[in-house]
Symmetry: D2
Subunit: 437 residues, 4 copies
């Protein structure tokens, strides 16, 4: 019987093939139609029980969904690009989530692993010095690019499924592999939590590669994510000729300008890091018309859920007051959200110990001071911890060709095997975890 | 029997005495305690029927009233300065209005004449080049000065009462002389209208001296006053240590800053001149404390009542919205108000014709382009016109030592006799007015 | 020999043909390539001396010019749509102006007539209830439509040229017909003035049809235009991750929000109507990025050049200060401009008298209270008056199918003959004008 | 020979007497005239060498100095209240600093101890439940109160001087006792540093009592102070009648409102806690006048000097830009400042060890999470550390009757003896410190 290490090594060509296929057909958040069918097919063939689409994605809890028109258009595009027709109907309308379960038949906890599948809304470099371009697997979808490594994450998830099924006899409890859509913009996780996907998970691990962690290092319990809320705010007023009868207008742009200044006055908080950003403001239709419309793309952040919630509640008040000042109506639409991140110490310690023992890493750390971003796996972690489970967020350091969100982003594919071996080890040795359970 | 001209001439020394006494004991708006008792006594001695205090001032309609403390303190001050104890109780608490009526017993309209009695809140110059100082009748009350000529107006009212009583036999109908408090800040007229003082007046004339009109000119129907609303706005929030726990504060100063910018964005109106001014803003208690209080002194103006009302209604919305933005409470207190001014054409024409005939003026005009101020006699004019009466606002040009509201303001006292003769003539010749009646 | 009336009547079919051709090939401002070649050809055939393109358009004085790319693309479009190749080179690059001169050989003043040629940036209705659509001459150029009647103006100019040439023997002095590009957005006239086109004109008349003036009425000296300045303002800052290192950003959106509020605080002016509008604001690139760019489309207006200039100068100060507040750079680009309008009384009186005598109008008036718009023929009027000439702005009332700038705008074509007859009469009877010359 | 403990115990009645005298004659910052003369006299009698007034206070480096008028008036008040005439001249004009030096004649480092002497600008409760009131030593100076415990600090300094002189034979090196004025508002320390007072200090200790630290606890190296800058900002514009000719005004209030919103948009910083507060805004003179003046009391804070400096530099830019927007001038006056606090680890460890050994404390800690305030002893610490010395900030926990800055603030006087014994121990055992020297 092959060792785990040999088994993983044997899957490397398959991993590269999967990753490059996913990379080539990059699909942005909620539009992972082809990806999800491919994932479902692979897991099905491996023998996993599948939950798909609306079973694992609560429709109302989705945030930042594209328009129905775009969803339909992209589903057609995916079909042309080889989305598998037997699976596609499950995902139609923006439900591209897949959960695969392996019941070992032996008593033990439910272990959940989460990977994400979506690309970013950006063009990929076609320059020869960009390896995916040179080797022909750069994105064929304009304005969509795997510039954050989620193609790698999905591949790790599939290979982990493969390896674990192969070593099923050595496992106990239940394995639950979660393939999430729309992590970019922190839009998708909440809908999977709302669908109950995490409600039976006892030991949860979400992963990321890269993020500035050096090659050879594993971060076992990254905790530097900020809680965040993303909102689109629209003000709707009344147009009027600005020279002829300005008093007939209700000025949405002035409301937005006041709201912008009000929002930026909020983030001073004794609880720690607090942030507000009005990142985009688009208002008005013509130079000589009192502006009757304004759109603001806003985000709040906080070092803790409490800080973020405080800022967000105050932001709503500012927006409502600014609208009232100018007699315009307003609407706030949630476009994304994430929670702050507090990995479970016992689970982090177990991962740390297992990673040490593996001998694959030059550096094994619990956490690392990182720039303040956000991640919606935190919704899942929070749910697991609320139920008494253990959760962590693991980062696999690796070499990057260029930073995340760069048109020439690429990562060293070797990290995928390392990740699979590490995660599989957690599953295989899970019985050793006495943790806080 | 003396002619009107001779009669007026004989009263010149009395007029000077009255005016200089009033000037010396200058009393600001709602605090004309001594003045009102002197006016009441003089009119009583002349034989007029008097209505006093609460009879002619509706308590609730008073605007910009001083504090109860200040009212009490100033009443005491007035008593010490010779306020007549038999009349003072009528005016106690800020009711310093006097209306004197002369029923001729002959049929005819009710003619109303309005003069105002209050001084300004400013110090009077004590320099030797300032005639009142040099001749010893400059204000003895610090921070109160007749720098607008209302001492002259009151004197004109008293001398007019004197002359008309002397010529009673030649009059018909009813003469009603209205002595108003608190014209500065446009605070008092509304309360006299609300008390019904104008409800029986058919022919109404309010007057002013000076105002930039050259000596020798009379303006028979000045119409350049703007409608206006004066409001004090307070925002009340919650203090907090600005370094230690800023999020616990509710920032009244930020609400006021937003409101200020919002208010100043309002006055663009196709109906004509529109104005907003936040003239004073006082907020906060300490450098390191989130400001829990803010006071704004605001005014709106408009070329017409409609324009002013539009701006005022929008101002209320801005204030309310700004408070909501920061979760602070707000209160709006009306501190003054006036209406736009539309003298009745027929009555203006009659005044014009009478002034021409008098031969006292080098120039008789209907109106004159003036800087945009406000005057609350407009409330009285509006009331008279609503009931079908005729109303006008007459300005007697005269030489001034310095402009209105200047610490060295003074006027040529000769204008008082001219005014008395003109107004008496209107009363005597009133039967010739066929007007719009 | 035909009378003027007969002559005009005989040209009606030609006028309709011209107008409908121009309407069908509607071309927006600075892009009137086909139109200008057709105008040049017609005037050339009639025997006029022509000045074209750069001769009559000062390159640097053009405002609101489209990009070089759009100019080239539209020139190609025009060529395909029948722009005449012998004239097109003169207009290449955005110089679509034509001036036609007729020297009578007899002494007399230079009479200038100005018409404009550009369409608006909007789609034309293709509904059957819209006559141009029903009769097949609606615009074939998407996003360009003669919705203001300039197709009529150009036709009037051509027919006037035709009629005056036919009656050349009865004329004296010089006739100068000015065909202006880019009146919409008040962008083109300044460049013709700067090129010296008006420097020899003694008697100047600009025209418009419709504008709410009822059919049967002529306004001989419309004076209700506001002086205006149109400006595009860009702020350029520095982007940064709004969560990770916000202090590294220089926030262009906040600068724009402050500038917007500052600009809207400006228009309170004792000189009369003053206006500011920030009609459009577009800022930022992403929700989680400190905005590094902002574009504001702004206009100022004033009842007089002085008021507009005051507001404009203050606007520049506000913009510069707001940029300084946030350490961002700013650029202001002039996009259009017009002057206030003061028709020459003597010339207006002459037009009034001639219009009366013609018997074509039920109502002949000097001016009319209109909503406050702007018109850049005012630059031409100002130039003529500066040199001692006489100038006026004439409006020919007519029935409209829908208001100006409406997708179903259309006018009663009969007004064109009336206008031609009126303007030709001014030329024929010019010797009777003793005016202020 | 008495032990230190016995010696301190014997001084307790003297300490109470000193403290209550100082408390009764509370003097606010820069006005500690009586206090400083009493301090100087006591130290002189003990045999210390004194440096006084301008020798230890650099005139130009003083911040937030009262007006010359107030200084003179308060000096006169102090004289009446028993300021000693032989010392008063040194302090005249706001130079109330005292430095006392004891040269032991034996080699060793210079040890500096800093205490502060000023009261707060507030009224003291005269209620019977307030011990100082009940026992007759509440402040006799209206609007000045020792509500922060500096009377205790000064007393500790004097008693320490007494004890150390008594035990001079057991000391080595030099003892330097620094009595600082104007700590409230963080105004005085910078001027003592600028005068060179700290330039020879090797081991520096500043102290505070209370501050929320529980009785029985000593904090050996408090590091929770924020760097801060206090500034007064004035905008000066031009007044004008807001109705009559608003465009003639230059509106200082609008500049202040924009600046306020701009300032509050600054504090988002990846370096950690950042704060801005516009605590007070006073603007304008009358409701109907364009405001020609505005005063803002502002502070910035930062977790580090760099963060505070970043925010402060941006604040200057915001203020300058806002002034430019409205064409008003501005002036910025530094009113106070402090640095962030980084106690020297070795010196903290030594204090910790000595405090442990003393047996006077139930709890000895290095630091403690405290609310974010500021303290200008940090200027002194920074100076000592720049020269290679060691510095710390020690807090002696004690029971308080009410919180600092409360009108009923009072502390358990027993803490003074504990503090003296602790500080004297540091001096006596200093030779054991091998530290980082």
């Amino acid at each position: 019987m092959k060792t785990l290490s040999e088994l993983v090594k044997s899957r490397v060509p398959q991993m590269q093939a999967w990753r490059r296929d996913l990379h080539h057909y990059a699909e942005s958040g909620w539009l992972e139609f082809r990806t999800a069918t491919r994932v479902a097919e692979a897991l099905h063939r491996l023998g996993y029980q599948l939950q798909l689409g609306r079973e694992v994605i609560a429709a109302e809890a989705r945030m930042g969904l594209p328009s129905a028109e775009l969803l339909a258009q992209q589903e057609a595009r995916a079909r042309e690009q080889g989305a598998l027709p037997q699976w596609l109907p499950y995902f139609s309308g923006g439900f591209c989530g897949v959960v695969a379960t392996l019941e070992t038949g032996r008593p033990g906890p439910v272990m959940g692993f989460r990977v994400d599948m979506d690309a970013l809304d950006q063009h990929e470099s076609q320059d020869a010095d960009h390896l995916p371009a040179r080797e022909g697997f750069a994105s064929c979808n304009p304005g969509m690019m795997h510039a954050c490594g989620h193609d790698g994450h999905t591949t790790i998830g599939l290979a982990l499924a493969d390896v674990l099924m192969a070593m099923k006899a050595q496992l106990s409890g239940t394995i639950k592999l979660i393939f999430q859509p729309a992590e970019e913009g922190v839009r998708g996780a909440r809908a999977m939590v709302a669908a109950g996907v995490l409600d039976d998970v006892d030991l949860f691990t979400a992963i990321h590669l890269g993020t500035g962690v050096p090659a050879g290092e594993i971060v076992c319990g990254s905790d530097s994510f900020l809680a965040t809320t993303k909102l689109d705010v629209t003000f709707t007023g009344t147009g009027a000729h600005a020279g002829g009868n300005p008093e007939a207008g209700r000025n949405a742009l002035l409301a937005a300008a006041q709201a912008t200044l009000g929002l930026h006055s909020l983030p001073q908080h004794s609880g720690g890091v607090a942030r507000v950003n009005v990142g985009v403001l688009q208002a008005g239709t013509g130079r000589n018309v009192v502006p009757d419309c304004a759109l603001m793309k806003v985000e709040t952040r906080g070092v803790s859920n409490r800080v973020n919630d405080d800022i967000y509640q105050q932001a709503l008040r500012v927006i409502e007051g600014a609208a009232a000042m100018y007699g315009v109506t307003h609407a706030v639409q949630l476009m994304g959200g994430a929670r702050s991140c507090t990995p479970s110490p016992a689970w982090v310690a177990f991962i740390h110990q297992q990673a040490d023992a593996l001998g694959l890493f030059q550096s094994v750390v619990d956490t690392r001071r990182q720039a303040a971003g956000s991640e919606d796996a935190t919704y899942m972690m929070e749910r697991v911890q609320q139920r008494g489970g253990q959760a962590s967020y693991v980062i696999f350091g690796c070499d990057l060709a260029a930073g995340h969100h760069n048109a020439k982003f690429d990562f060293d594919e070797a990290i995928m095997a390392t990740a699979v071996q590490t995660l599989a080890t957690l599953a295989l040795n899970q019985a050793q975890f006495g943790g806080a359970q």
